[in-house]
Symmetry: C2
Subunit: 123 residues, 2 copies
């Protein structure tokens, strides 16, 4: 495992830096998966969609569009992105599609939702 040192300050501990590099590389899978979740949730609209699905169990695109006062295509495209990432699933009932959280993939979101609620207090 190579480590190109560009910084010449004495304090730079090459062993420390190499160790950091190894750790980051070993956790590559974790970083990839977590970045996927956070980049999905790191958008105002999508975070609200995820929160709402957690709160209401399932909602159709139309409900979400009404609640967030946004257009259907805008919501639909966010839903598609979240679904492609595997964090929500849909079931059809007639013309209506119901979206819901894939619980096994979204455990970390519970911490985030709780935190959002607690941030209210300090407002």
């Amino acid at each position: 495992m190579k480590l190109e040192i560009t910084c010449t300050r004495a304090e730079a501990n090459h062993t420390q830096l190499l160790n950091c590099q190894t750790t980051i590389q070993n956790l590559d899978n974790g970083f990839q998966q977590m970045t996927k979740l956070l980049s999905i949730a790191g958008n105002d609209v999508r975070l609200k969609i995820l929160f709402l699905l957690n709160m209401e169990n399932e909602l159709c695109p139309c409900d979400i569009a009404d609640i967030l006062e946004m257009s259907m295509p805008a919501i639909s495209q966010h839903l598609r992105k979240i679904k492609d990432a595997g964090f929500i699933a849909s079931r059809r009932e007639g013309q209506t599609l119901y979206y819901s959280l894939v619980k096994s993939e979204t455990q970390i979101l519970n911490t985030i939702f709780t935190s959002i609620e607690s941030l209210k207090k300090s407002a």
Copy 2:
């Protein structure tokens, strides 16, 4: 609080939708702050920087550039973005700037870091 209903399906419970809208609006401050954190952390490079700062307590831009094998300006611009958001701080020691996490603002990240580490197992 108005609610424009665009969906005509019978199951759509207007009270439920209005309640959702109220909840989302009441938590506006929480959503804003959480979106800020998640949009910062929802980038591969920045998530790794935050993880490294948590692991090593403080690092200079040069260390981070070496570890992640990226250019100094690229790292510097990520650091600036994280710092502008208030999640890291810096102290100067001669020519070197040391960056570290602002603990009070990054508690939620601990859950995320733990999760990254545990995702390794299932790889």
